[in-house]
């Protein structure tokens, strides 16, 4: 069997990045900047190769590797794969940039940190092209396993340690469930390649095995997107982890989960789309409702974002839930739904990342802190506030940032295209609950700092641009960790890029919609 090495290039580069990071750490010990720089270069290289290889594809064409038959491939490199790989690498790069303040503190060993991040990226890069269960599982684990360590890497940090164990335990348990599902699917169809599973003539006796297998597989994978019921780890882990890692978890790791769910729930489960549709619908409804309701009551910033991301997972899965409706299983409808899911994922990733990025810019190496700590932020750093507001309102699905709005539009549109009106209504109503806490958080930025009750109500950018009291009083009145932070340039760049992209795709949603169209 011939192996198209070109298809593997991005994977090689990614893996090489990991190794380079380790070597660099050995060669120039103590030079954090160097290590990070090398890793960053590697990641950039990954992006570049992904794009170039993607460009190299003649339209509609694809490169394959490790094939037994025409469709029995472990790896397929098509435009979608290229896009996913590029996005993953970009997110890893962004996370790295956000990590700079953390690395500066020396709380974490730079070399290992970069290495683990690169490993995770490698897994993610492969994930996009995986076309059989084994590769899928291994890739997912390669994506996830380094994250346990990244979460708990900070020395002597109790929260970090606890968070790491929580993450790990829930992860292995749900992995076990997913593997059980895989085993049942294999038992029923005798195939591990998606093509085989999708094309297998399943004996009526084995039909239930296949269905239950798919259900368990999806439920197990739901852990990756932190969907109810496999969601409880997210708040604890996000809050315990360093902010950059939390950012990576809530973007890259989630995106990985989405890709996996798409591959399994749609590509592989063709014969039993109804089953996977219903499963995903249940997961979606539970996730968005529970996530939004609990988020209403959060006091800590990161936990708020964590719960909101649980809800977002619900919106992510909602379009696939429409597969349960007969109207959603027709060819074009399925493409519509898949495209909507991917589009929402991209919109979400951009907004979520810029939100976390802004947090890092505000808090430096510290943790997210209480929501109340952000009062008066607008007065101190208007630009960061603007980014946060755009991201949060975007996640809520409202202007000024049109990205979030179009994300919701895409989801609802696909749902109605798939005859799942009720699901669309559930999504819509959840959006209302969601706005309640996003807007509350956004409003606190404009509130006066806790020590300045005299400024109660003095709000909005104005507060930032001039301040109702002399500037001195304002900063004195501020809670200490909010004294205007000196944002290190990588963070600044990362946030700026993310914000720009968020605004850009708001005005040109077609970019994302076209990218999403390449899937399935």
């Amino acid at each position: 069997m011939r192996i198209d090495q070109v298809a593997l290039l991005p994977t090689y580069v990614a893996a090489a990045t990991a190794v380079l990071a380790l070597l660099a750490d050995l060669v120039v010990p103590g030079r954090r900047g160097a290590v990070a720089g090398v890793t960053a270069l590697g990641m950039l290289g990954t992006i570049a190769t992904a794009i170039t290889v993607g460009q190299g594809l003649d339209d509609g064409g694809r490169r394959t590797a490790f094939c037994l038959g025409p469709d029995q491939c472990s790896l397929v490199f098509d435009p979608a794969t290229a896009i996913v790989a590029g996005v993953f690498a970009a997110l890893a790069l962004g996370a790295l940039a956000l990590s700079v303040p953390l690395l500066r503190t020396g709380e974490v060993p730079a070399g290992e940190y970069c290495f683990l991040l690169a490993c995770s990226m490698t897994g993610a890069v492969v994930l996009g092209g995986a076309r059989d269960l084994i590769t899928l599982v291994v890739a997912l684990e390669t994506l996830t396993l380094p994250l346990y360590l990244l979460v708990g890497l900070r020395r002597g940090n109790r929260a970090g340690g606890a968070a790491a164990v929580t993450f790990f335990v829930v992860s292995v348990v749900s992995t076990a469930v997913a593997l059980l599902g895989a085993a049942l699917v294999f038992t029923a169809t005798g195939g591990v390649h998606f093509a085989d599973i999708a094309g297998a003539q399943v004996a009526p006796a084995a039909e239930p095995l296949l269905k239950v297998g798919v259900i368990l597989l999806l439920t197990g994978l739901a852990f990756k997107v932190a969907a109810v019921p496999a969601h409880a780890w997210a708040p604890a882990t996000y809050d315990g982890a360093p902010l950059p890692v939390a950012a990576y978890l809530s973007t890259a790791s989630k995106l990985g989960g989405v890709v996996a769910l798409l591959l399994v729930g749609v590509s592989a489960a063709r014969p039993v789309l109804g089953t996977s549709g219903l499963t995903l619908a249940v997961l979606a409804v539970l996730s968005m409702t529970v996530g939004n309701l609990v988020a209403l009551r959060q006091r800590r910033m990161v936990r708020l974002l964590a719960w909101s991301s649980v809800a977002q997972a619900g919106y992510l899965l909602a379009p696939l839930g429409a597969l349960l409706a007969a109207g959603g299983r027709t060819g074009p409808a399925v493409e519509l739904l898949v495209a909507a899911t991917v589009a929402y994922a991209f919109f979400y990733v951009v907004l979520e990342f810029s939100a976390f990025g802004a947090l890092v810019a505000v808090r430096g190496a510290g943790d997210g802190g209480e929501v109340a700590d952000y009062r008066g932020l607008a007065r101190r750093s208007p630009w960061l506030t603007a980014v946060l507001v755009i991201s949060l309102t975007g996640l809520a699905g409202l202007p000024p940032g049109l990205a979030g709005l179009f994300a919701k539009v895409a989801v609802v549109r696909s749902l109605l295209g798939g005859d799942a009106v009720w699901l669309a209504v559930v999504v819509a109503l959840n959006a209302v609950i969601g706005l309640a806490y996003y807007v509350r958080a956004a409003a606190t930025f404009f509130g006066a700092p806790p020590e300045g009750p005299a400024l109660e109500g003095a709000a909005l950018e104005g507060a930032a641009l001039e301040g109702a009291t002399p500037e001195g009083a304002a900063t004195d009145g501020a809670s200490p960790e909010l004294v205007k932070p000196r944002v290190s340039w990588p963070v600044a760049v990362a946030v700026a890029v993310a914000a720009v992209v968020a605004v850009l795709v708001g005005f040109a949603p077609e970019l994302i919609m076209r990218a999403a169209g390449t899937f399935s």
Binding site: L68, Q72, L133, I134, V137, V138, E141, L145, Y148, L149, G152, G156, N157, R158, G161, A162, A164, V165, T166, F168, V169, V172, V173, T175, A176, L179, L180, A182, A183, L184, F186, T187, T189, G190, G191, V192, H193, D196, A200, A232, W233, P235, A236, R297, Q298, R299, R300, R303
Partner: protein
């Protein structure tokens, strides 16, 4: 050979593992229970391999091998994390890992 036997065994074993995961308080014991679950899965793979006509020869057994290696890696990392936790709080009782804080009424 009647495949139903090993299959049933695997099913029950999985159930036992699940029980263990739910009731055990000690992180290490919890991990052991997880191993039981994974072994149940492996058993299913192997039995299936021996029972049905797979599209790719020995796919089930290969899968099993990968799962075993994965499990090993996971255990390694997991134990490291558990030990770190122990260093930090002198306890490996998972009941002490709070998921979420009590909210203000």
């Amino acid at each position: 050979m009647h495949p139903v036997l090993p299959f049933t065994i695997a099913a029950l074993l999985f159930g036992i593992g699940v029980y263990g995961v739910v009731v055990r308080r000690n992180a290490v014991l919890l991990l052991m229970a997880v191993e039981l679950m994974l072994n149940a899965v492996n058993l299913i793979f192997v039995t299936a391999d021996a029972t049905i006509r797979a599209a790719v020869p020995h796919a089930g057994q290969s899968f099993t091998l990968f799962v075993i290696v994965l499990a090993a890696a996971e255990v390694g990392v997991g134990l490291a994390l558990i030990l770190q936790l122990y260093r930090l709080r002198r306890s490996v009782v998972v009941d002490e890992l709070e998921l979420d804080e009590e909210v203000s009424a």
